[in-house]
């Protein structure tokens, strides 16, 4: 069965960003240090006095990001969300504009970072915010 990343309980989020660092390390052969390649973003809610949250792809069934991609770098994925064919990405930012929840991030090299629903980050969230579940 196909799985997607979902949020179990956002109120538990402490804003530690361990999920961001995990996402950057997700490729076994080419992990990154830092979060430029992270498809998930941990933020405070206008200051930590109001708590923290994360911004991440919700796995649309009809992904607008893919609909506006001129090179087919983003193709709908079975189970929701998209498959990101990085080589095809020309860095036009159309998808960044199209994603209603701003879950696509600009990388320093001009390409984008977004969640591809691999599930790697789930085990690194120390506070059980995230879940990898079947659709």
């Amino acid at each position: 069965m196909v799985k997607i990343l979902t949020i179990k309980d956002i109120e538990r989020c402490v804003g530690c960003a361990l999920c961001m660092y995990a996402c950057s390390r997700r490729r076994p052969k080419s992990p990154y240090i830092g979060y430029d390649h992270s498809g998930i973003l941990a933020i405070s809610l206008s200051g930590f006095e109001r708590g923290a949250t994360i911004i991440v792809c919700r796995a649309c069934y009809e992904p607008p990001c893919s609909q506006v991609c001129p090179t087919d770098a983003l193709v709908p994925r079975k189970g929701g969300g998209v498959v990101y064919k990085e080589k095809l990405c020309i860095g036009c930012d159309n998808c960044i504009e199209a994603c209603t929840i701003s879950a696509i991030f600009k990388r320093q090299d001009g390409k984008v970072a977004l969640c591809i629903h691999c599930g790697y980050c789930v085990d690194f969230c120390p506070h059980s915010v995230l879940e990898y579940r079947e659709v």
Binding site: G15, C16, P28, P31, I33, S44, S46, G47
Partner: protein, 583 residues
């Protein structure tokens, strides 16, 4: 994509005199990072006899080689000349400060000069922007300043907003710099140095990425550290009840300084214990960036408005052991809500809580003894009276008379002027932390290079053994601990994770980053950094011979009996010969 290069350090130099900047890259691997490179950079860039509030003072911020490769390496080390102690100033803060600096590509930032008008500085990877902060100057609430800048600047989630409150602007010598609302460069007055440079805030937006030299072992060691941190007991103390878990046991031990150390036992300690805060006030926990522990405990305080029925505000206040001691037991405050209000007020102005509490405790006793008059104190200072202390904290900010102007210089300065040195509880000019545990604690404050309990954890040596070792042996233990902590502060690993980062693990963690070093070499570097720091401290004006020991500490029994001045003298003599004179 850059591979991590351990030896080559990238340093951003900012000059506020002419709003210029440049990047320097050089080999500083032998100093590791953090406190190691900051010591060198401060030494090279500062004129040693400069007045701490002169534009010639220099601020160095540094992060380490584990930032952001591994969890817990999330502290930024700040070094500068301290306006409080007039020699070496050093404080550490977490939040996103360290990871943002590292992700922006820097190992250190050096800030020189002073702006003629208020500014805030935004670092965005290789670009530095100088922004007009005239409209922000005068906002005394550090939370508001943070919110305004957060609205205006980009980089949500990947930036740190380090700012001062009113205390920094008004040059309160123990003003801090706040970041991500609840983390502080607290001790030794970095906030006043920001204020003297007319620097309201420093924003760092970091976006870079690096690669480990070995992918496989990097992921493996990361997992090992993560498991150690989350599965073991090593961090439990910090995530369950948090540091306030210490209130009850220290009180039981007769080690909790109370009412300006008239006593070391607080009859209302249970009310302000970590357990009570957790049961009744804890509202949420948050974390520094890249920290699985989330030790930051926030209490919710609901306050009704007196002028409008059914109109309330609810504020979130971070509490820790040090604040409970300094604004609680030290001031005789045994009511949690009152204590939270004091914590909030100190947070808002951006003052170091320990220094503030100790200053107010001294003032209370001085008023009681008639050394100062009601005209000077303005507020009716009395142990247990939170309303009076709230006014006094306001006065430390407004400084409406000569008395508060001097009090804002710290307890050393005020007691020099008004007397009462016997009960002015500072060591090396830094107001004391909350540990009346014995010789280890106090000698630790005296010889610690920041005069902080965290320098060498003497309070913990006291609690571990029933009998004190010989003074010479105690000094050796303290210096050994402080030397190892130079390594942790050079890696910028949070001290709370010291149980996780053993020498063995540090060496292991180095490997995937392309660093080969043995445990012995590592410890040797720790000693080298320690001595280098002591040397710099001396050059900046530290004089061990002038160290004052307030009589009060001898009058209150510790759990091992009364302190012995001969013991302390022997320890200091030994330290002087073996270390102080050697550098």
């Amino acid at each position: 994509m850059d591979l991590i290069d351990f030896n080559l350090k990238k340093i951003l130099h900012i000059n506020l005199n002419d709003y210029s900047y440049f990047v320097e890259e050089r080999d500083m691997g032998e100093w590791i990072g953090g406190v190691g490179i900051a010591t060198r950079l401060l030494s090279e860039n500062i004129k040693k006899d400069v007045d701490p509030l002169d534009e010639g003072n220099v601020i160095v911020l540094a992060v380490g080689p584990f930032t952001p490769a591994y969890p817990f390496a999330s502290k930024t080390v700040a070094m500068f000349k301290s306006p409080l102690t007039s020699n070496l100033g050093e404080s550490h803060a977490g939040g996103r400060s360290a990871t943002a600096i590292a992700n922006a590509g820097y190992d250190a930032i050096v800030i020189k000069g002073a702006s003629s008008k208020p500014v805030y500085v935004v670092i965005e990877n290789e670009k530095v922007h100088f922004r007009d902060a005239r409209v922000l100057w005068g906002i005394e609430d550090s939370l508001i300043t943070g919110r305004i800048i957060a609205e205006k600047e980009k980089g949500r989630g990947i930036r740190a907003i380090m700012r001062i409150g009113g205390a920094g602007e008004k040059l309160v010598r123990f003003a801090g710099v706040m970041t991500e609302t609840y983390r502080h460069f607290g001790r030794t007055g970095l906030g006043a140095v920001f204020g003297s440079k007319k620097l309201k805030a420093l924003v760092v937006i970091g976006k870079g990425t690096k690669r480990p030299s070995d992918a496989k072992s990097y992921r493996e060691i990361y997992n090992k550290i993560f498991e150690l941190a989350t599965a073991s007991d090593a961090m439990k103390k910090y995530y369950l009840i948090g540091t306030p878990v210490n209130v009850a046991p220290l009180n039981e031990l007769r080690a909790l300084p109370t009412r300006n150390l008239e006593s070391a036992y607080f009859e209302n300690a249970e009310e302000i214990s970590g357990e009570k805060f957790a049961e009744f006030n804890l509202a949420r926990r948050i974390a520094c960036n890249h920290c699985p522990t989330a030790c930051i405990h926030l209490a919710a305080l609901r306050i009704p408005y007196e002028d409008e029925p059914y109109f309330h505000k609810t504020i979130m206040i971070s509490y820790d052991y040090e604040l409970i001691y300094s604004l609680g037991s030290m001031l005789g405050i045994g009511d949690r809500n009152a204590l939270l209000k004091l914590m909030h007020r100190v947070e808002l102005y951006g003052m170091d809580a320990m220094s503030t509490g100790v200053c107010l405790a001294w003032a209370t006793e001085a008023l009681k003894k008639g050394l100062i008059s009601q005209n000077e104190a303005l507020a009716p200072l009395k142990f247990g009276d939170a309303e009076a202390y709230l006014k006094a904290i306001d006065n430390l900010y407004f400084q409406p008379n000569e008395f508060y102007k001097t009090l804002a210089e710290g307890v050393e300065a005020i007691s020099k002027k008004y007397g009462g040195k016997e009960f002015a509880l500072a060591f090396g000019g830094n107001e004391m932390p909350g540990y009346h545990t014995g010789h280890g604690g106090y000698i630790g404050f005296l010889i610690g290079l920041r005069h902080s309990h965290l320098d060498n954890a003497g309070y913990s040596i006291d609690q571990k053994a029933k009998e004190d070792p010989e003074p010479e042996e105690l000094v050796e233990k303290l210096v050994e601990e402080e030397s190892w902590r130079q390594i942790l502060s050079s890696l910028v690993v949070c001290f709370f994770a010291r149980g996780v980062y053993t020498p063995e693990l540090v060496v292991e963690g180095f490997k995937p980053l392309g660093i080969e070093m043995s445990e012995d070499e590592l410890k040797e570097i720790g000693r080298k950094i320690y001595l280098e720091k002591l040397k710099l401290k001396k050059e900046l004006g530290f004089d061990l011979g002038k160290m004052r020991i307030p009589k009060r500490i001898f009058e209150v029994e510790t759990f091992k009996g009364n302190l012995d001045s001969n013991y302390i003298e022997r320890a200091l003599n030994y330290y002087e010969k073996k270390y102080y004179r050697a550098v």
